[in-house]
């Protein structure tokens, strides 16, 4: 019995729905809900995490991310301009830096600046400084590439039009090129902040005092101090989503705006 294309599509839909229902049912039946309720996600254990999670975990994650972003943005801008420089040595240095820091795990950078450099040079760095340097230096490598691409994406004719109106080079950059480049890099830059937010958790390799805990460390600490199974970590995870999902939506909004118009 031959089926029309529409009938075949309908059958396919039913089959897919059927597989889904069976899979969910199997999962529900196979799950040990009692254990999950006590040691994986225990509602009763959420309460004690508040309000501390706001004042240490969330607050420190936001501070570490912001510090890393500030260092990363300034370092990234410097590296991007070096990479576009007419002086070859600057280009080589910038390229070397970018390839190096994009090529190694951020965790190694945290260990290097948390333990290695202070030991080698006999300096004492507090946690904030280490986060700022480690997160910032890794971010600078990624942000540099984003900014370079943005500056190069502004058509050459824009600079020519500005110069032909009598604007000096710096004025043409400030009033015409950089505002357009900024609009171009806004979506990827927002994604950069999302990555930074998550990478700020790498600070766990250093010894932290309670007031320095960011979300992940706060959650891990909760596991032992509250004896609540995975609950604190899951709550911490939810807090990351509270930060990253709005950022992600923001990036998408910037993206669709710049796709619609170059304004």
């Amino acid at each position: 019995m031959a089926m029309t294309a529409r009938q075949r599509a309908k059958v396919s839909l039913y089959v897919q729905a059927g597989i889904f229902v069976v899979a969910v049912a199997a999962l529900v039946l196979a799950t040990d809900w009692k254990t999950i309720g006590t040691s994986v996600f225990n509602f009763a254990k959420i309460g004690p995490m508040f309000p501390d999670i706001f004042f240490s975990g969330l607050k420190n994650t936001l501070i570490y991310t912001a510090l890393g972003f500030i260092v990363g943005l300034s370092g990234g801008l410097l590296l991007a301009l070096m990479k576009l420089s007419s002086f070859p040595l600057y280009r080589w240095i910038a390229t070397g830096y970018i390839e190096f820091f994009r090529g190694i795990p951020a965790l190694l950078v945290f260990i290097a600046f948390g333990y290695g450099v202070p030991l080698a040079f006999g300096v004492q760095w507090n946690v904030t400084i280490v986060v700022m340097i480690s997160l910032g230096m890794v971010a600078a490598a990624y942000i540099a590439e984003t900014l370079r691409a943005g500056l190069q994406a502004v058509p050459k004719g824009q600079l020519e039009a500005a110069r032909s109106l009598g604007m000096p080079q710096w004025r043409a950059m400030v009033s015409i090129v950089i505002p357009q480049a900024f609009r171009i890099v806004l979506p990827p830059l927002t994604n950069e902040v999302i990555l930074l937010t998550k990478d700020s958790s790498l600070i766990y390799v250093l010894g932290l005092t309670a007031s320095q805990y960011e979300l992940t460390k706060f959650g891990r600490d909760g596991i032992s101090s509250l004896g609540a199974g995975l609950t604190p970590l899951l709550v911490a995870g939810a807090f990351y989503l509270v930060i990253t999902i709005p950022l992600s939506l923001l990036a998408r909004k910037f993206e669709s705006r710049s796709a619609r118009t170059k304004r």
Partner: protein, 270 residues
């Protein structure tokens, strides 16, 4: 239209009001690597004169035009624009460019600014005019190109022809004494070409000095005082517009015009 005084140094005789600047190019040479694009060009444009540069693509006419305001740096030769020697290493190039309006093939409007702001940004940042005065000048020039009612539109809300007219208004807002046009209608839809050409025609009538790279032979014949035909980096022929276009003397000019004026005439043996 042909009652123009050609002797250089005299001000344009058509229209009034515009302070016109002449151009004088001497033995201009420009190479990209081993490729010599301009092979010793000399050309004078008198104040108030309209000169059209025609020729096949790759003949160096756009490069020549871009040398006049130093968007391209010539390797040899001298360029005089108004009272400036552009090729003098000590010249204040930004000051000179204020006197020279440029209109590009691709318009190059600033996409993050609306039509009015496109016309005011250089007025306020370069000429240091106050915002109110700059807005007034911008509005007057947008009116002049017939787009005063679209001053709040952004470039992406305008047609190609409208964008090019805003680009002309932007250049005019700096009160230039010379206007350079680099194939201003080549990127336009055919139905919007006429609007841009009529703006340029009016500008010529008002006495603006204009150097125009174009493929619009009708425009060149009607509006230009002189036509210069370039090929292979040299000036092959120049003279009164009507004569060069209707009765060229050089064989290369004849061949080019035959192809441009009758595009369906395809010679496969070439």
């Amino acid at each position: 239209m042909n009652d123009v005084v050609h002797s250089s140094g005299t001000a344009g005789t058509r229209g009034s009001a515009v302070h016109a600047a002449g151009v004088s190019l001497k033995d201009l040479r420009k190479s990209y690597g081993s490729n010599e694009v301009l092979k010793g060009i000399s050309l004078d444009v008198a104040p108030g004169e309209v000169v059209c540069l025609i020729g096949p693509s790759g003949s160096g006419k756009s490069t020549l035009l871009r040398c006049v305001n130093l968007l391209e740096q010539p390797n040899e030769g001298t360029i005089h624009v108004g009272g400036f020697e552009a090729t003098d290493p000590d010249v204040d190039i930004d000051k000179m460019r204020r006197k020279v309006g440029m209109v590009f093939q691709q318009f190059n409007l600033f996409p993050h600014l609306n039509a009015r702001q496109n016309c005011t940004i250089a007025q306020t940042k370069v000429l240091k005019r106050g915002q109110a005065e700059a807005d007034k000048v911008a509005q007057a020039n947008l009116d002049r190109v017939g787009l005063g009612h679209l001053a709040d539109r952004f470039p992406d809300q305008l047609s190609g022809g409208q964008q090019q007219r805003v680009a002309i208004a932007r250049a005019l807002s700096m009160d230039p004494e010379l206007m350079l046009f680099d194939e201003p209608t080549s990127a336009l839809d055919p139905e919007t070409v006429g609007d841009v050409l009529s703006v340029m025609r009016n500008l010529a009538k008002e006495g603006m000095t204009m150097l125009v790279v174009t493929h619009e032979m009708g425009f060149a014949r009607e509006v230009a005082d002189r036509v210069v035909f370039m090929d292979g980096g040299v000036v092959v022929e120049e003279g009164v517009a009507e004569q060069v276009i209707s009765a060229p003397t050089q064989s290369r000019t004849k061949e080019f015009l035959k192809r441009v004026l009758d595009p369906t005439h395809i010679d496969i043996s070439k």
